[in-house]
């Protein structure tokens, strides 16, 4: 299991290829890539703040719990921090399991957690200035599905 917070852009395809390599007992890999939206010009860039040593530990704790709950045998989470331009990948989650259902569910669950409760602070910068973002009602409802 691996959790990475990084300021540098990443290439989701390369992460997925590396994650899939050398797995003899994994029948299924599911991946999700989140991409920063421009919101029709309202967002010039996102700024994502983390608390190093706290944010990564908290995400790793949730990932370990998800691995146990859904029975997946490996998880990779890569999350950008700092300034992120529209069209850049902001988050990548991959899960590996013997059969597909566990991998789908674990990835879905982890994304709902990451979008609603992970310890990040997000600021949207646009032509009219900057504003702090909090989880949407939809993000909270998505996270609540998992009990």
């Amino acid at each position: 299991m691996d959790v990475r917070l990084q300021a540098e852009p990443f290439e989701p395809g390369a992460l997925l290829s590396a994650f899939c390599a050398g797995r003899a007992e994994t029948g299924a890999v599911v991946s999700f890539t989140g991409i920063a939206r421009a919101e029709t010009g309202a967002v010039t860039f996102l700024e994502l703040e983390a608390y190093p040593g706290f944010t990564d530990a908290e995400i790793a704790r949730i990932a370990r719990a998800a691995a146990e709950r859904f029975g997946v045998n490996d998880i990779l989470i890569v999350h950008r921090i700092g300034k992120i331009a529209p069209s850049e990948a902001i988050v990548f989650v991959a899960t590996a399991s013997a059969h597909r259902r566990a991998a789908f569910e674990a990835a879905d669950h982890l994304m709902d957690y990451l979008k609603s409760r992970a310890p990040f602070w997000k600021k949207e910068h646009g032509p009219d200035g900057a504003r702090w973002i909090e989880p949407t009602e939809q993000d909270l409802a998505d996270a609540a599905r998992w009990g």
Partner: protein
């Protein structure tokens, strides 16, 4: 200080002489220096972490190297 708390205060990190005994005393000191920050620290959903562990309510600062104040987390 994280997120909008750092915007309110105009600073992110500060070293404070280790004479304050508790989290509540530290908050009172920060509020004395900057009432707007004091109000923001009492805002809804603001949490504190001592050496990267969340605390609920007041706590002693003895042996604590780092105190973080965190506004509601936004998710990524």
């Amino acid at each position: 200080l994280f997120g909008r708390l750092a915007d309110v205060a105009g600073w992110r990190e500060r070293t404070i002489a280790p004479t304050l005994q508790s989290l509540s005393a530290l908050k009172a000191r920060l509020a004395e220096d900057d009432p707007r920050l004091g109000d923001a620290l009492c805002g809804k959903g603001v949490r504190a972490a001592l050496d990267k562990a969340i605390v609920v309510g007041d706590a002693l600062l003895e042996g604590v190297a780092e105190v973080a104040f965190m506004p509601p987390m936004s998710g990524g």
